[in-house]
Subunit: 347 residues, 2 copies
Amino acid sequence: MAEIIFTQDVNRKLKDILQSYIPKDIFVLTDNHSKDLCLPFFDKELILTNHFIEIEPGETHKSISSLEKVWNILSTQGAKRSSVLINIGGGMVTDLGGFAASCFKRGIHCINIPTTLLSQVDASVGGKTGVNFLGLKNEIGTFSIPDYVLIDTCFLKTLPRRQILSGFAEMLKHALLKGGEHLKAVMKFTPETISSTEFMQMLEESVEVKKKIVAEDPKEHGIRKALNFGHTVGHAIESYAIEKGIELYHGEAVAYGMIAELHLAVKKKGFNNEIYHQISQFINTLYTPYTSVTDGETLYKLMLHDKKNDNRGVNFTLLEAPGRISIDNYCSREEIIDTLQEIHFTI
Amino acid sequence: MAEIIFTQDVNRKLKDILQSYIPKDIFVLTDNHSKDLCLPFFDKELILTNHFIEIEPGETHKSISSLEKVWNILSTQGAKRSSVLINIGGGMVTDLGGFAASCFKRGIHCINIPTTLLSQVDASVGGKTGVNFLGLKNEIGTFSIPDYVLIDTCFLKTLPRRQILSGFAEMLKHALLKGGEHLKAVMKFTPETISSTEFMQMLEESVEVKKKIVAEDPKEHGIRKALNFGHTVGHAIESYAIEKGIELYHGEAVAYGMIAELHLAVKKKGFNNEIYHQISQFINTLYTPYTSVTDGETLYKLMLHDKKNDNRGVNFTLLEAPGRISIDNYCSREEIIDTLQEIHFTI
């Protein structure tokens, strides 16, 4: 498991850590967007004295071609197995950079500094790396653990409300998986009023939920599938949005995915209908209400690519109640399409 | 560790194994060349009833672009995490196919059926996968273990003498790493006179040498570097040949590399000069004598890309004597260039 460090002084921590690597072997990867917004938080020498790799931002550039660019620079600038790649940015940068590092010379060192809430709470933990392929999210990737993950909430100040909410969807997911007091606290969240101390504590608790699950099942043979709650429908919506050029954030797709999958859970696992409505309302108040995307058949077809599936059909993680997780629920085409129609996701 | 099965009935073994996979989830990867020469050894239903992926043969096609072709077919033909990719061919197919399988949806099942001596004795064991990048051998890859490796010497009948010798170089390497009676037996090898029973036994012993080293150190932090004996110089020669379009087999480059690295061992580790001359003569008799390639500086520069290097210079595995291995020997530019000149490898 990577060492996850929560800090309020990312520069000092990073400098301490870099003592253990060979100075001329340090490579920094970021995207244009994070370069402008996040690099100003770092001491100049850190960035200027090291090899620097810049890629284009956004899901469409989370591609084999960006990967080749990273490998090209690592190779031509003499990166060795002893080298370290520091990924500074959102999940796109840490996922792609983590994948690049895990395959270059069959694996070099890697440090992630996630700068969005989404990557801090989700991509930071668990060692999933990857790029998109043929419009499918993370179709190509590895399980590979970075040496360190540095989490500093200072970067969150650079984020617009919509991006904070995108990350918050994963926190809500963790809270639904855990249930109890943590869920109650998370359900009171409003980005405008929460104090930074409260938020930092909620973030640490949230990361802890994921860390515990991943430690039990690093390669997703069993309980780790719990973390896919909301993602079977969520990924299908997101894939569709990428394909059509619709701007939709990952967490937004997951938030809508959680509504759909809780609806399935009400029908199939006896999830309490009233709690479903509370959560559905909470999501629809916090996020732009999501009314229609495309027909259910199109979303269903996209779900058929989900990595958890086998020949038994589309595999869902459903909840019997908050904190009561049920993995490997196979739902039929009809059940899925009915749910999508009932919650008005499809036209 | 993969289950390595030596068999004289590859069809029966493969059919037994495939019982445990879902029939419509079976994909077969091969190259044009192995398709013509090796697929006739298999029962027709095995190949015809499964998804079939064909790539171009040869080191130049061990590339990201071939990899994308494989991923494309896996994705569009609905491969799942439960799917299995059967790689049938030489090291190029098993390395590339192993890499493709290890990253597709972050890892699907994989069975290797190596059909050249080189891949049976080397690529078959140890879980190194990869493709070439910017002219550098296996620059991009993973450590990933296939479910099974099936070794049947029937395929070797399809190979010309030169390819048998290419594989034999790795057997000689294993024998030098082991020493003793096994080395003596291997030093008596001639492709024309050896019986198939003797050869099968020698092959199993040879694979055993590698298997034991890999089991001790799967990710090459220490003793596994022993297996790179002959490869630091060998890979440089091979990279140069690829770049210039010179036809040179991997084992040929390794054979010449072993001469160079034994010469370094005589100078630096007190390796017995007489044994050096015996081995050097054995190699030069068996293989087309190798006189000159390029200048030492060019080869030295190619060695700087070797994955084992760090900032201390070019890292060699040297022998103090047959069976007495010394890893992590850093040689200077002068030592390397002098050796290459003394053994007439360079112009």
